[in-house]
Amino acid sequence: MADKITVGYTHLSGCTGCTVALADNYAGLLTLLDKYVDLKYMPTLADARHIQQVDVSFVEGSVCINDKLAVEEIKETREKSAIVVALGGCACYGNITRFSRGGQQNQPAHEAYLPIGDLIKVDVYIPGCAPTPQMIRNVAVMAYLLLKGTKEQKDLATAFLTPLMKLAAAGTSACFCELMTNVINQGLCMGCGTCAAACPVNAITMEYGKPQGERDLCIKCGACYSQCPRSFFNTDVISQYEAINEAIMAALQ
């Protein structure tokens, strides 16, 4: 089908949990592939062996800069994709690979890992560990509207994706500390509890209504900060939640 968008999936030093999250759209995944997405390249789910020219590339995992192949792959991904989406905590912020320090067999020199944004320009972030099927779905549908939609749809998709583009532009470091520095220290926290729910490792509890981060548990995925309503809140888009949710659900019928 000509009017699908072409999508690639580059797998670097990640755990394939992001791939599973994508597949966890269940029947919705089949609809996505039927109608909107032509999956050109994806190591686990598709058969192609090499990175191809695509509209949108999802990248899972961080880059081991001591591994020539990984560095080549991320560069090639950038060259061959119109839009690069960093999928999951590792690609966006390093996640657990931030803790890596090498010295392990059979490649003791594999010690330095960087989020992809430290090596290439990244357009959109989907943080979290694992990222959620619904977030991947929403971004995929919006990317489709951005590239193939009417003027109105393009505008909506742009508005929707803008905060995720800003996250990508903002940097490659996020953990519970971002909640402290960018929300609490900035006098913006109102104690809703979102961060505690979003944390995938139960590192955040709400003490007297404010987040307490157990930094020895935090894995640096960035979910708490980006889910926080005070990290970004684009009222114009979110106030249309009903219509947008309905449109996405209808698109996946």
């Binding site: 791939t19 089949l30 690979t97 392990q104 490649q107 594999h110 890992y113 694992a130 548990l217």
Partner: protein, 455 residues
Amino acid sequence: MSKVVEISPTTRHEGHSKLVLKVNDQGIIETGNWCSITPVRGVEKLAVGKTPEQVPKIASRVCGICPIAHCLAATEAMEASIKCEIPNDAKMLRHILQLANRCHSIALHDILILPDFYIPGTETKINPFTAEEPVRSVAKRIQRLREIGQTIGQIAGGDCIHPRNTRIGGMYRNVSEQAKTKMYDLAKEGLTLSHQQAEFMIAVIRNYHNRDFVDVGGMKVPMPKTLGYHNQGYLATHAFYGSTSMDECPSWDINRFKEARPYDWYMGEMEVTLEEPKYPIGGTTKMGTKVNPQMEACTGIPMYDGQPVEVGPRARLVRYKNFDMKGTKGQNIAREMEYQDCFYEMIDCIDALNTSGKVVADYIPNGDGSLGWASNEAPRGTDVHIARVNDWKVQYFSMLVPTTWNFATCSKALEGAPWQLAEVIMRGYDPCVSCATHMIVLDEENKMIAQKLIQ
């Protein structure tokens, strides 16, 4: 004259790996090396000095397909080191979570191997994502089974990809009666679907292996009746769950375990001398490329009683249920035969779960540096984690993960097969390569881990 062919990267499995194959004039594999080329994130090394609560959460993240096994084996290895007994209801929640993960993983593996097979009664290979019947109904059933597994995992484990509810000493929360009812309903639905799915898959697998020739990228390749046979032994530690060093009769023995590096087992530098552009998809590696499995492989070679062994569904069935079918066919059928049992066991565990029981141990010691290990039967085989915790800090951590066990065994199983079917043999192991790249050898000198560890 032998020729060298390389398939890199291999596809339709987790992670990055490649096959380096020395083949004879008939294209039959004489020596096969299957190796991981996934960068080594060094989870065992980065674990040192961290808290035993954090390490299992990191260990979970070595693999997104069998994270549950890693999370549970790591948690239980820590608990074995500090000698912490957890309440029975926490155990039940862990069992449910583990089986739920297997339910999703088998279904995912079905998606990955289906393109090798034919729609029975036709010469059409299966594209699992086609909208056409009969495949679409199968794909929907697969996705529903995955949904059931992931949803049950989410209830028992807090989250299904990387579980959130597990902790040292048990689980953070027990589930409500309402949640228990939901798990029952889902498990009952899953049981029915798993019967249908296993039957379908077994028919498709038999159909494929009973053919005289199969198609690979337009090449007509003879199908040996002994595809994937090997003479290595089997290792499994439980019919479905696992064992730990705290058990009265542990089913794994650290003294029988040894590890070598690929340097001893794999081929040295060679040059690719056979190139096949027709091989799907994108052809094999270019003629003249230098390959060096010895140096490139990113895993170790674990051995039990001095030899690589096979772990996984067939190993469990051989060890606990007298299953006797060899080869790739037997392996794939064994996996499907575990499907229903996933749900029977799960329903038993939900029955046994008391939702008002406590799920955290009353006393959680800080550890005195003792060695503890725990095995967990991941969908693709035995996952053993070894830990030493002292004063609430991890001193030592090691993960012997299923696909690492299988790398060398599968390499043996490649021998005697047409090289074009090497990926089919490999996929029979349901490889999870990212997790496999996390081994360490404590003592680089004598390449042996066990003696050092038990001192």
